[in-house]
């Protein structure tokens, strides 16, 4: 029988099968960060259980830390305590910890891939919903809660139901100025914020095959924004080239053998999917959100929907969103004035994102009324950006190029968009107050964010390319 990639990974990790119910599934690796791990360590302590295999974990700090140069000094006492507790827990349990001065600190979903930890055919979890990012490597990777993290720490396993699989294919050609971010936003706006609940998405087709690993990570990252448990892509030559000679990748002597193993996780032709969706990207424009969830997105040259365009069931939510965002249905989204702009996060804080941004900002200035934060996702990205001289371009443009972390993606560190201010952001969520209480967020690609920061209003990147 033909199998899809999820069937194949599932079978390889099944420890105890229970038909139609929760099976015991082996988890190969888990990332830990400061926000969702403390209570899990505590659970083990309360029960007097040891960690089964500390080598299955790597810990770093990303969510609650500042991104200013002297970030070692954390002024928020609760955040400081949280970071110190993770440092302590990692040391106590012999878990590698990528601290500020390690050279590898960064957002977990950035460091896993760039260190070569994330590999095809694996199961990976983390107490963070954007763990789906790792699916770009043909990995079944998903976010879990703190209780589940305790299970993984204690047993290296989880109780899971075999998920249904939805195939998503982008049809057409990705034109200049259109990025992976625009494509995934198009999917989410098409199927809705709960459109893939209960499914894992397998992204397939030529458009995906042509993408770089970093673009694929952007696509998989946002799978959770339409409710999917995970998103993944068949491993191929692009995957293997990316992984070659990274610090944690298999040694080059084992390369042939490991590639043949990795190749065994490619979906068979004509395999079964529970659902199939095709997204037409013909002549599409850059995407931007107008509302308060990632599905409330439109092409940049179109008009904000009016009340009569939404179904009666959606009316209350529509009213809430448009009212919160201080916008009017029927107006153009393009040209909406902005105060803040952010490039970074696990969705779009990688080196390719920074290069795109630098290309647009080169020899130009950020609009005087706009604060632009550019935050690399990891130390690796920061060093690479400096090597390429991108930091000078950012500085000359008047942007603030900061230290790695989650930063302005969520309002839980020093970086916040002030109340009443409007931000265009390369992140994954525009929920009410997400970037800071009372702030307004518009999601877009890094190119659209960079272009908008120059004009001081929501602007298509096409005019700068």
């Amino acid at each position: 029988m033909q199998k899809n990639i999820v069937d194949k990974i599932w079978e390889k990790h099944l420890i105890n099968h229970s038909e139609g119910n929760f099976s015991i599934c082996g988890i190969d690796f888990s990332f830990l960060h400061e926000v969702t791990s403390a209570q899990a360590f505590q659970k083990l302590e309360d029960r007097g259980i040891a960690i089964m295999n500390p080598k299955q974990f790597i810990a770093t700090i990303d969510h609650s830390i500042p991104t200013r140069p002297n970030r070692n000094e954390i002024f928020d006492l609760a955040a400081k305590n949280q970071v110190e507790l993770l440092r302590h827990n990692a040391q106590k349990h012999d878990i590698p910890f990528f601290d500020f001065d390690s050279g590898h600190q960064g957002i977990v979903h950035a460091i896993g891939p760039e260190l070569g930890i994330t590999q095809p055919g694996m199961t990976i979890v983390c107490g963070d919903s954007h763990t789906a990012t790792h699916g770009a490597f043909g990995t079944l990777a998903f976010g879990i809660g703190t209780s589940e993290l305790a299970h993984v720490l204690a047993t290296g396993c989880l109780l899971l139901k075999k998920p249904k699989v939805m195939k998503v294919e982008f049809k057409g050609q990705k034109e200049e100025g259109i990025y992976a971010k625009d494509l995934i936003m198009k999917l989410i706006s098409t199927i809705g914020i709960g459109g893939a609940t209960g499914y894992v998405i397998e992204y397939t087709g030529q458009v995906i095959k042509n993408m770089s690993m970093e673009e694929r990570m952007t696509i998989c990252n946002m799978s959770i924004e339409c409710g999917a448990k995970a998103g993944l892509i068949n491993p191929d030559q692009t995957t293997y080239e990316y992984l070659k000679e990274r610090p944690f990748s298999p040694k080059i002597e084992q390369w042939e053998k490991i590639i043949s193993y990795w190749n065994s996780f490619v979906s068979d032709e004509n395999c079964f999917y529970d659902k199939e969706i095709i997204i037409d990207i013909f002549a599409m424009q850059p995407m931007v959100t107008w509302g308060t969830n990632p599905a409330q997105a439109i092409e940049i040259n179109s008009l904000i929907p009016t009340k009569i365009q939404v179904s009666p069931a959606e009316e209350i939510m529509y009213e809430n969103a448009i009212q919160y965002m201080q916008l009017n249905g029927g107006d153009k989204i393009e040209g909406t004035p902005i105060d803040w702009a952010f490039i970074g996060s696990c969705t779009n804080g990688r080196i390719e994102d920074l290069r795109i941004c630098a290309k647009i900002l080169k020899d130009r200035k950020v609009h005087p009324s706009v604060t632009l934060y550019i935050v690399p996702a990891s130390e690796g990205v920061l060093q690479q950006a400096k090597k390429e001289g991108l930091d000078f371009i950012f500085k000359n443009a008047g942007a603030d190029f900061r230290m790695p972390g989650c930063s302005l993606c969520l309002g839980m560190n020093d970086d916040k968009v002030p109340a009443g201010k409007r931000c265009i952001s390369s992140t994954n969520r525009n929920f009410v107050g997400r970037q800071g209480t009372g702030s307004y967020t518009h999601l877009a690609s890094p190119a659209t964010v960079a272009a908008s920061s120059i004009r001081g209003k929501i602007t298509s990147p096409l005019e700068f390319l």
Binding site: G26, Q39, K55, S64, N81, G227, N320, F431
Partner: protein, 202 residues
Amino acid sequence: MNKITKICGKCIPLEMNDVDTDLIIPAQYLTSTSQKGYGENLFKRLKDQSPEFVFNQHKYLGASILITKENFGCGSSREHAVWALQEYGIQAIIASSFADIFSGNSLKNRLILIQMDKEIINKLILNSKKNDYFLDIHIVHNKIYSSLDEDFSFEMDNYQKSCFINGFDEFDYLLSFRNKIEEFKQQQIKDNIIPSYNRNPK
């Protein structure tokens, strides 16, 4: 784990779709390292925004059953959302659908989620807005009785049901498979298919 067979309580209606966990407990309250102290910040942003918000209304004080609409609990995986709801006093949530990670987190903490058709949800919301509306949820019989003398049936998968009524503990269950799990992990190392086990970073 505690056994739960019945939940009786007052209803509070939250007439919204896609309530995300950022709304349930905003990120700025996530720096705590314990499982306590989140209840007072439940729905903090919505509470601050409007005095009309249901969680600000006196008539719903002491409610333990939340009635809401589609895709409740979407977004971030933060289990703090479940801890906040429970600390506030919510013991069961009735909605037309729930987000995936939130469902898992709820089950682990014995917060009962019941899925019902949209028409019934609309009715429950209407009733709880009009009256002091109480529900009596019988998990064993998959039945809900209301203070207006209605009754509704619901479906719950056997596994979930067993977790509630038998106090089934997933942690103990997983630990009971320790030998089989060890065997599986050893085999992976032997096959050299998880290179991270033998990692020796440069």
